[in-house]
């Protein structure tokens, strides 16, 4: 068992290594950091541009293997290199991942909890009103691209502000940024302000999760509802609600676990649209900006970050799987 886990871990580490290197080579050959210095007036001397690019390890006149060697040496020492603006990629990721986490934690928890609960309840009440409402909701939300959904919620928020007369500086719901600049975040007013910024993007993320998990959990639960062991549990005298939760929901959760784990890893970049539209400076924004900004080291850094998250998530899914399904533990 131990040797299997170790081999698995080594394979996963190798995958991260290959994925990050592939992203680095792609970015280093396709992106063009030099273009940032072109079109300036007066044009900087070529030697100055070369020196600046060399300092960042972004000079396209250096052979790509040489750049890769320098970059990977840094990575093995825990240094992901410099961005095009000569800041540290490490610091950038370190700052932005917390922004993303603050944005998504609430939405993800709320969305998956409500989705699972709603889906399970809809299955128990199959073809009744609640089931129909959830089915239609999921179907419609899953057919709307995240960008469009985010814009719709944002405009609804602005409309609500106008309707209720919040047209001045203070608003009921804010649609850009994480908080009003200059406010102390740890006072009562600061926390209220953060909440007012958080509501709309959280609603966007939660809606999507509810739609996704709700529909999936409903089907997983429906599969379980007809099963013999649930009937047995009731036959031996367990109240229906206890039987449904202890035996039904627990079993129906098993296939969902894999989704949870992967979903959370992909959320970090998947929330790109929400971050972009609501003006949060998180990992998703970094992801897009690194490509548009011709930022080779940042692209590789983001890829490494995502790859590690996906793998941790996969590992956690295995653990949770074992916790829910006793057969795995034997």
């Amino acid at each position: 068992m131990i040797s299997f886990l170790l081999r698995r871990l080594a394979y996963l580490a190798l995958l991260v290594l290959v994925a990050t290197s592939a992203a680095y080579f792609l970015a280093a050959t396709q992106l063009n950091p030099r273009s940032r210095y072109e079109g300036r007036n007066p044009p900087p001397p070529a030697a100055v541009v070369d020196a600046a690019l060399d300092a960042l390890n972004l000079n396209d006149r250096t052979p790509v293997l040489e750049r890769f060697a320098r970059w990977s040496t840094g990575v093995f020492h825990g240094d992901l290199g410099r961005t095009v603006d000569n800041t540290s990629v490490n610091e950038e990721i370190d700052r932005r991942m917390w922004v993303s986490l603050r944005l998504m934690l609430l939405g993800a928890i709320l969305g998956s909890a409500l989705g699972v609960a709603g889906g399970a309840y809809a299955a128990v009440k199959q073809y009744q009103k609640f089931d129909h409402v959830l089915t239609v909701f999921s179907f419609v939300i899953l057919s709307i691209p995240t960008v469009v959904l985010a814009v719709l919620y944002k405009n609804a928020g602005i409309g609500l502000n106008n309707l209720l007369g919040f047209t001045g500086e203070t608003k009921l719901l804010y649609t850009t940024g994480e908080m009003t600049p200059g406010l102390d975040p740890w006072t009562g007013a600061g926390i209220m302000d953060r909440m007012a910024h958080l509501i709309l993007p959280t609603l966007v993320l939660a809606s999507i999760s509810i739609a996704f998990y709700g529909r999936y959990q409903r089907n997983a639960m429906l599969d379980i509802l007809g099963s013999d062991f649930l009937r047995t549990a009731q036959a031996k005298g367990l109240p229906r609600s206890r039987a449904l939760i202890r035996h039904g929901l627990r079993t129906a959760l098993i296939p969902m676990v894999t989704f949870f784990a992967y979903q959370f890893a992909l959320l970090f970049v998947g929330a790109t649209f929400t971050e972009k539209i609501f003006g949060w400076h998180g990992m998703g924004e970094y992801f897009v900006n690194s490509v548009t900004g011709q930022d080779v080291n940042s692209v590789a850094g983001v890829t490494l970050f995502v790859a590690i998250l996906v793998l941790i998530a996969g590992f956690l899914a295995d653990v949770a799987y074992a916790a829910l399904d006793p057969r795995v533990r034997v």
Binding site: L15, V16, V18, A19, A22, A23, L26, A27, Q30, L31, S138, F139, V140, L142, S143, I144, P145, T146, V147, V148, V151, N155, I158, F212, R215, Y216, R218, N219, L222, D223, V269, T272, F273, K276, I277, F287, V288, V291, T292, V299, V302, T303, V306, A307, V310, L311
Partner: protein
């Protein structure tokens, strides 16, 4: 006189079940109608997507410009129809490509096993770890001036892995069945067995997968084009329209809500078809996420 026995083939059965599902038929009709409008309307309307009307800037919907115009005087109806052509084609071609890739890779990995299986599995794992959005975005400058097929190919390349895993699993069990064994002992080469016996036996899975892929690829195109990483100007897609005019939603609503509305209608209709197909192929299974 002997009457022909009343034989219903599986195909007829599935078709009959599909036709009986009202929502699925509604979705199918909407897709057909949208297809027809997208491709036929340019033949009948006065303004084309690349024509400027210098006398109407930012005009709201009127009798002449049904969906209004943009800042530069482009006709929004023509743009939306042009965008829908692209979205439809991207979705359909991409879905067929990715399902075909999944079928072939999964079946070959499952049938031949060993080294081929290990190699294909490694590629699948790697592609699952690499963020596809980022890779397509990095390569997007290459789309400029090239055919959109290249873009669709890339989208499909990041879409096939999970289906391929399912196909591999099914191949492993089909491989042991008598008809496959019989074909093998008669000396039929492996690739022929795959195309003649194994893949036709999972046709329902592949058809459903392709339908579901149509809507995921349309949505993926919108996401990429929103940031300028997808279809490149001067061509337009629903994604580029939504990206360009998402800021205009509050002021000049027709620029955003009309293309976005058509997109949602299209994806919704495709999802209804997918759901209906699933039920038609497997009436006992509860309908799944599309």
């Amino acid at each position: 006189m002997t009457a022909e026995p009343d034989v219903t083939s599986r195909g007829q059965l599935v078709l009959r079940r599909f036709l009986r599902r009202r929502l699925a038929m509604l979705g199918f009709t909407i897709v057909l109608v949208l297809f027809a409008i997208a491709y036929l309307s340019p033949l009948f309307v006065a303004w084309q997507y690349d024509e400027l009307d210098a006398s109407a800037f930012l005009s709201p919907p009127t009798g002449e410009h049904w969906f209004g115009t943009t800042q530069n005087g482009f006709d929004m109806f023509a743009l939306t129809m042009r965008g829908m052509q692209k979205s439809l084609v991207v979705g359909l071609v991409g879905a067929v490509l990715s399902t075909a890739l999944a079928a072939i890779a999964g079946a070959f990995a499952g049938y031949f096993g060993r080294i081929l299986n290990a190699a294909i599995s490694a590629v699948m794992d790697l592609l699952l770890v690499l963020p596809g959005f980022l890779i397509v975005a990095i390569l997007s400058p290459l789309f400029q001036g090239r055919t959109w097929l290249f873009f669709v190919l890339l989208l499909a390349a990041f879409q096939w892995m999970i289906t391929a895993r399912i196909v591999r699993g099914m191949t492993l069990s089909l491989k042991e069945r008598e008809f496959v064994q019989a074909a093998r002992f008669m000396g039929v080469p492996g690739w022929k067995i795959i195309f003649r016996h194994i893949l036709p036996n999972m046709a329902s899975l592949l058809i459903i997968d392709a339908t579901v892929n149509v809507s995921s690829l349309i949505l993926a195109e919108v996401g990429l084009s929103f940031f300028g990483f997808g279809i490149q100007p001067p061509d337009v897609s629903l994604g580029t329209l939504i990206g360009n005019y998402s800021n205009a939603a509050l002021t000049f609503w027709w620029q955003f809500y009309l293309p976005a509305g058509f997109l949602v209608l299209l994806v919704l209709a495709v999802n209804l078809v997918g759901d209906g197909l699933r039920d038609a192929f497997d009436p006992n299974a509860p309908s799944r996420v599309t």
